[in-house]
């Protein structure tokens, strides 16, 4: 059965967005990522214009992250206090990032910088997560090294002002830390055109030292608000949100997020990190292939990045 999408101006087999929504929603519930870095290119592959794909995906992520946040909140895995600090930083960072893109576009370097940012950030994050998670899984020897690192990091963090205890995560940090790192992630997210989950998760795990399962729920909470803002701006400014497509996607993604949250509780934190690292590295390899192989078409639709 095919549905016609009134804003995308195309027709799609209803099983495609339902299936894509389910798969990406699963990732949201499991890892605390929005999944935009997967969903948007997949929608484009199925004939959705790139601007509509990116904007409508933000709408879908609102639903999936609401579902995932709710599922994680029910089992006590959302640190709202930490999430709000990260959100504040992310909001400011997003504003800087958008301005940065405008400057880059005026200079004519936007696409090069964006693509290189994708490859570097995904590659660094994925590689670091993979190596660190594998070595952490060899528990006995690595536990001592990890404690030494925590002391050094802990000393530095404890020296900063505005120390705040985050009860749900069981960590104490300066309020400046989540705000500053949230801001950095916001800048990168605006440049890369993503929600920032796959950047925020490593920040929360490795810098804020939050337990992985609290990271997932808190990340979804932060992504939820980020995508509410993006959805509204895309609908209001660019008229590119396709509500019909969003409904088809979110039917699958809200269910997928719940299933992901359930599966996530059955998988250990280190295993979750390894799987996410593999996915991030696979996306990096895909982008590198796209950059180096000759495309079949030398012209593409304008808009988005």
């Amino acid at each position: 059965m095919y549905f016609y999408l009134p804003v995308a101006l195309t027709s799609i087999n209803v099983l495609v967005p339902l299936g894509l929504g389910l798969a990406v929603g699963l990732l949201s519930g499991l890892f605390g990522v929005g999944g935009g870095f997967l969903m948007t290119p997949l929608l484009i592959m199925f004939g959705i214009p790139s601007t509509v794909a990116a904007a409508t995906d933000s709408n879908q992520i609102v639903a999936a992250s609401t579902s995932g946040t709710y599922a994680h909140w029910r089992v006590g895995n959302v640190d709202f206090k930490m999430g709000l600090y990260l959100l504040a930083g992310g909001f400011v960072g997003g504003l800087f990032g958008v301005q940065g893109i405008k400057v880059l576009k005026a200079m004519g370097n936007a696409d090069f910088v964006i693509k290189m940012t994708y490859v570097l950030m995904l590659g660094i994050v994925g590689t670091y997560m993979f190596i660190e998670s594998i070595s952490s899984m060899r528990k006995n020897k690595t536990r001592e090294v990890k404690e030494e690192r925590e002391s050094a990091t802990g000393r530095f963090l404890r020296s900063l002002p505005l120390q705040t205890h985050f009860e749900k995560s069981g960590v104490t940090h300066s309020a400046l830390v989540p705000i500053i790192f949230g801001c950095l992630v916001g800048i990168l997210a605006a440049v890369m055109g993503v929600g920032g989950g796959f950047l925020m998760v490593p920040v929360m795990v490795y810098i804020l030292r939050m337990p992985m399962h609290v990271v997932v729920g808190t990340s979804l909470f932060q992504i939820l608000f980020n995508c509410i803002e993006v959805t509204f701006l895309q609908a209001y400014t660019n008229h590119t949100v396709d509500f019909m497509l969003a409904v088809l996607l979110l039917i699958g993604s809200t269910v997928g997020a719940q299933i992901g949250a359930i599966f996530g509780r059955k998988i250990e934190g280190e295993q979750l990190k390894v799987i996410l690292a593999v996915i991030v590295l696979a996306v990096t390899v895909k982008i590198i292939f796209e950059l180096t192989l000759t495309p079949s078409l030398l012209l593409g639709q304008s808009g988005g990045h």
Binding site: Y2, F3, Y4, P6, V7, L9, T10, S11, G47, N59, Q60, A63, A64, S65, T66, S67, G68, T69, Y70, A71, V75, G76, N77, G108, D111, F112, K115, M212, H213, V214, T231, F232, A235, Y236, T237, H239, V241, F243, M244, A246, V247, L250, T254, A257, Q258, I262, R265, K266, E290, L291, T292, T294, P295, S296, L297, L298, L299, G300, Q301, S302
Partner: protein, 268 residues
């Protein structure tokens, strides 16, 4: 016989003029089709509803025997801005700029009884915009370095449009039959769902001796209807409300599904 009848009834001066005019008219009629070219499409109105997945348009009519036919389905000329891909540092493929295309139709579909270059001269093709080559000549592309660059990028534009199923050229798919001294033609053309709402012109060209001897046209209106039209209109004209509705629907769906699912474990 007509001339003789006129000669008996009219004064001499007027008679001479009228005879000359009639002779000229008869001569012209013999040089063109003896039967008028007609065209009818099975749809003059394609309605886009929620289950729309394209359509087919059949075009039929009559023409003079011994003529070849070309059927062109096209939207009026429009403009496009597309990103162009190129190599950066000789290694990486990425978007390297934008190209603007003017006077290009959104949809362009061509059917003919034979290969167009065999039945129609280049001049006639350019005059009636028949074929990609002629379309390319009247298209403006900015910025391009020279004519060769323009030809290259127009070729890429056609590839892009063909990949989107919006441009197509085919030959030999118009069926012909002779009945009662008239040539009946028929062609079935797929109508892609990617074609945006708007008015499209279906034109038939009767071709003889490498020239177009007659044309006929009809129109097809493609229009969104019902809820599809309402959503598209709201997205454009009531954007803030549309955005809020989209967000609220997503929040409600997320919470709703969350309420349906039961928690299966404790905190980690």
């Amino acid at each position: 016989m007509l001339l003789q009848a006129l000669g008996k009834t009219l004064p001499t001066v007027g008679k001479g003029f009228l005879i000359t005019a009639c002779a000229a008219l008869i001569f012209l009629m013999n040089g063109t089709a003896s039967a008028a070219l007609t065209i009818t499409a099975n749809h003059d109105h394609i309605k886009i509803d929620f289950f729309y997945h394209g359509s087919t348009v059949s075009v039929r009519g009559v023409s003079a025997p011994g003529t070849d036919l070309i059927i062109k389905i096209a939207a009026p000329g429009g403009h496009y801005a597309l990103r162009k891909r190129g190599k950066v540092a000789g290694l990486l493929w990425m978007n390297v700029g934008e190209l603007k295309f003017e006077h290009v139709p959104q949809l362009y579909s061509l059917h003919s009884t034979k290969k167009i270059s065999e039945i129609l001269s280049g001049e006639e093709r350019d005059k009636y915009l028949i074929g990609y080559e002629s379309l390319g000549k009247q298209t403006e592309i900015q910025p391009v370095a020279n004519e060769a660059d323009k030809t290259k990028w127009f070729g890429e534009f056609v590839k892009f449009k063909e990949a989107s199923k919006l441009y197509a050229e085919s030959e030999g798919d118009i069926s012909l039959s002779l009945k009662a001294g008239e040539l009946n033609y028929y062609v079935l053309s797929p109508w892609p769902y990617q074609a945006a709402p708007g008015e499209y012109i279906v034109t038939a060209y009767a071709v003889k001796d490498k020239k177009v001897i007659e044309t006929a046209e009809t129109k097809v209106l493609v229009e969104q209807v019902g809820l599809v039209k309402s959503f598209a209109s709201m997205a454009k004209n009531s954007a803030a409300l549309y955005g809020v509705i989209s967000i609220v629907a997503a929040l409600v769906a997320g919470f709703g599904v969350g309420l349906i699912f039961r928690s299966g474990g404790g905190a980690h």
